[in-house]
């Protein structure tokens, strides 16, 4: 893994010097700012039972389904379309290093984008001068959720990108896979056919993997080691699949 830092720093440098990154970040912040101000309008109208952080992080899936495919669609699809992936892999780097380098850069950018939303809470705190609005449970729990689940989401994006040479297809594929992971569990686990005794293990499995349930726990300020393991192991498996996917494609190129 000695080439991993080199690859990662190269990927990060490429992202930082690209105006497209800032353009995407500006749009992301404008969109999230709009959502946050809508949330605060409710708090201005009537007292609410939950902190703004709780409501804010409940809408995590909205930027995830848009931003993650945009951040990751280029990773391998572009390299494969231009034919540079073969060139890259003729150098003394392994497929694992390349996948981890691209994943690391996309994930750090994803984290940086979410970290900038911390500014919204700072602005709110300055205006309201009420420390209760910085309720540590939902705030810390929400960011931990974003950070941990982001590993899995970004890995899914990287995996989608490793399957095709077309960026648009990679983005759509990532969006579909993320949608299935985030919404599919909730939809399926409430299905009537799963009520039958023979499907109980399936139902238990789906409930274990329900992203919305994990989000509810994190945004209440509860961190469950099972959920951490779910996302970490999901990330590892997805990255291994990406590595295998890249290798399989090279094998059959």
């Amino acid at each position: 893994m000695k080439h991993f830092p080199t690859l990662l720093s190269h990927e990060i440098r490429m992202l930082l010097v690209s105006p497209a990154t800032y353009f995407a970040a500006t749009l992301f912040l404008a969109f999230m700012g709009l959502i946050f101000s809508q949330i605060l309008d409710q708090y201005s109208g009537a007292a609410q039972d939950t902190s703004p952080a709780y409501v804010f992080f409940h809408l995590f899936w909205l930027p995830v389904c848009v931003m993650v495919p945009l951040l990751t669609m280029k990773c391998f699809a572009e390299e494969r379309r231009l034919g540079t992936i073969e060139t890259l892999l003729t150098t003394p780097v392994t497929t694992t290093e390349v996948v981890l380098g691209k994943f690391g850069a996309a994930y750090l950018l994803y984290l940086a984008l979410w970290a900038t939303t911390g500014g919204f809470f700072y602005i709110l705190h300055k205006f309201s001068a009420d420390p209760r609005f910085l309720d540590p449970g939902p705030l810390v729990g929400g960011y931990v959720f974003v950070a941990v689940s982001g590993l899995f989401f970004v890995a899914i994006g990287v995996f989608a990108s490793s399957l095709t040479r077309n960026q648009s297809v990679a983005a759509v594929l990532a969006c579909v896979m993320l949608g299935m992971l985030i919404l599919g569990g909730s939809v399926l686990s409430t299905s009537a056919w799963l009520e039958q005794d023979m499907f109980q293990p399936v139902k238990t499995g789906l409930e274990y993997a329900r992203v919305f349930t994990h989000r509810d726990d994190f945004t209440r300020g509860i961190i469950d080691t099972r959920q951490l393991l779910f996302y970490l192991s999901g990330t590892v498996v997805t990255l291994i699949f990406s590595i295998l996917g890249v290798e399989a494609k090279l094998l059959h190129a």
Partner: protein, 497 residues
């Protein structure tokens, strides 16, 4: 060249190798997650550890022997409050490692009619706990300690953990508390569906709260040993000496519990209950409460009662939710002022009529109801509430235990001045149901608090002027995105140069 030595075969072999590796990793991670399910820990990041269960609750849940299903009813418009949802999740997780489990399901009573009917649930915002054959319903608002603020119930503290723990213990216990309705003297009966004289709705309400409801005729059998509570609703004829003695023994020797709902028209001595009531410090008058103020009367002549003891556990739900009682014919019931305070007896007027009401005694001899008629009942000076007639009285005996520094409870009696307020046609009044169920809970000591602290309730409201709110919105819209855009421009110009 043989196929197995060709590049094509090697390629496919390597592909198969990759697929097997994928399956291997998937199985490994699946197994890891499966194992982790039973060895999890949860960290509460909230201030005051808001969602952490108390050690007492945890020890109960870890020793749960059977699975408890909790069904939460909702509608489209209502959501389960975040505290309740969090609490239920913590219960589910805490019980995971025990032999019994807690399973939680949300039932939309309007969209999922079939499921709701299966469970016998019609109302939203109810938690139904079912363990085996034992059901117990808890209203979501029972999970909050409320205070009345300008006629509006406002949550003061979240007591969900203690209420839910008590409910789980109740349903998972093999023993169900028995409530026996007395019969044989013209009392209203629990299996009667008649709107005016039946108690079938009340029976259903008690059954859904995990009480076993039965009847007992004291003239032919003794009071069952398992009787947690006796209820006599509007008896019409005299209890024999033997029956009176059974009741007296039950209440004193066995520290029994009794709810007496005494309709006007027949006095306590005609019922043979005068000595018993005297023993428990309760005076029951032979009158009918009359009311002139239209605020305290319904269109069809029912009496509205809105005055309650501010501290007694029985009256708390009525005060917190601003419920009123709707009573038919009602008589005056008072604590006996002559009963010595040192007898270990505590009598409290739970509910009282309005200050303008009086107890009319001349109604049966054809006198026009008038507060000045001779013999009428009027408020007793010195007794609470001042200037009002009592309609419900609770009496509790606490007996000293030898030379020890503590006492033990030796029976509880609640006397209501009206008989049919729990009949099918009146039980749907929220106040009537709440009062009766609250009296039942107090009598059988279901209101006993576990040693679980109440949680504070946080409310978040932004108190900003319109101008400040506008400034805040503009700052959110433009400050951070603007900074990011500026950074992008700088990078763009730098790269162009």
């Amino acid at each position: 060249m043989p196929f197995f030595e060709s590049f094509r075969a090697v390629r496919w072999l390597r592909t198969m190798n990759l697929v097997l590796q994928a399956v291997l990793f998937l199985t490994f991670v699946g197994g890891l997650n499966y194992l982790a399910r039973n060895h999890a820990s949860r960290i509460d990041l909230t201030r005051y550890r808001r969602y952490s269960l108390s050690p007492e609750t945890l020890s109960y849940l870890k020793n749960l022997k059977q699975t408890v299903h909790i069904y939460a009813t909702v509608t489209d418009d209502t959501e389960i409050p975040v505290e309740v949802r969090g609490l239920l999740d913590e219960f589910v997780h805490a019980a995971d490692s025990s032999r019994g489990q807690i399973k939680f399901e949300i039932v939309n009573v309007y969209q999922d009619r079939r499921r709701a009917e299966q469970l016998g649930l019609e109302q939203p915002n109810v938690l139904l706990l079912v363990c085996g054959e034992n059901p117990r319903a808890v209203r979501v608002d029972e999970l909050y300690r409320m205070r009345n603020e300008g006629g509006r119930p406002v949550p003061e503290a979240f007591i969900g953990e203690q209420v839910l723990t008590a409910a789980v213990l109740d349903v998972s216990s093999p023993e169900r508390q028995h409530i026996y309705f007395l019969v044989g003297h013209g009392e209203l009966q629990p299996d009667d569906t008649n709107p005016a004289r039946g108690l079938s709705s009340l029976r259903n309400e008690l059954q859904i709260r995990n009480f076993k409801v039965d009847t007992v005729d004291l003239s032919i059998s003794k009071i069952p040993d398992e009787a947690a509570l006796l209820v006599a609703v509007a008896p019409q004829s005299r209890y024999s000496k033997a029956e009176q003695e059974k009741l007296r023994q039950y209440l004193s020797t066995n520290a029994g519990r009794l709810l007496l709902l005494l309709s006007p028209g027949i006095n306590a001595s005609q019922l043979g209950l005068d000595d018993l009531l005297l023993d428990w410090g309760v005076l029951v008058y032979d009158d009918v409460i009359c009311e002139t103020d239209p605020v305290y009367r319904t269109d069809d002549g029912d009496l509205i009662v809105k005055h309650y003891d501010p501290k007694h556990p029985i009256s708390q739900p009525l005060i917190n939710y601003n419920f009123y009682l709707r009573l038919g014919y009602t008589r005056t019931v008072y604590p006996d002022p002559s009963k010595a305070a040192g007898s270990g007896l505590t009598t409290t007027t739970i509910a009282a009529a309005s200050p303008t009401a009086w107890g009319e005694v001349g109604h049966r001899v054809g006198l026009q109801p008038k507060s000045t008629n001779p013999g009428n009942t009027h408020p007793i000076p010195g007794l609470k509430p001042e200037g009002q007639l009592g309609v419900v009285v609770a009496s509790e005996r606490v007996a000293p235990r030898g030379n020890l520094a503590f006492s033990v409870r030796a029976g509880r009696v609640v006397v209501f001045g009206s008989g049919d307020f729990v009949a099918n046609q009146r039980i749907n009044t929220a106040g009537n149901e709440a009062l009766f169920l609250s009296a039942v809970n107090w009598a059988v000591e279901r209101d006993a608090q576990l040693n679980v602290p109440a949680r504070p309730i946080q409310r978040f409201q932004l108190s900003l002027s319109a101008a400040d709110l506008n400034r805040l919105n503009y700052t959110l819209w433009f400050a951070l995105p603007g900074t990011m855009a500026l950074l992008g421009l700088i990078v763009y110009w730098t790269r162009r140069k």
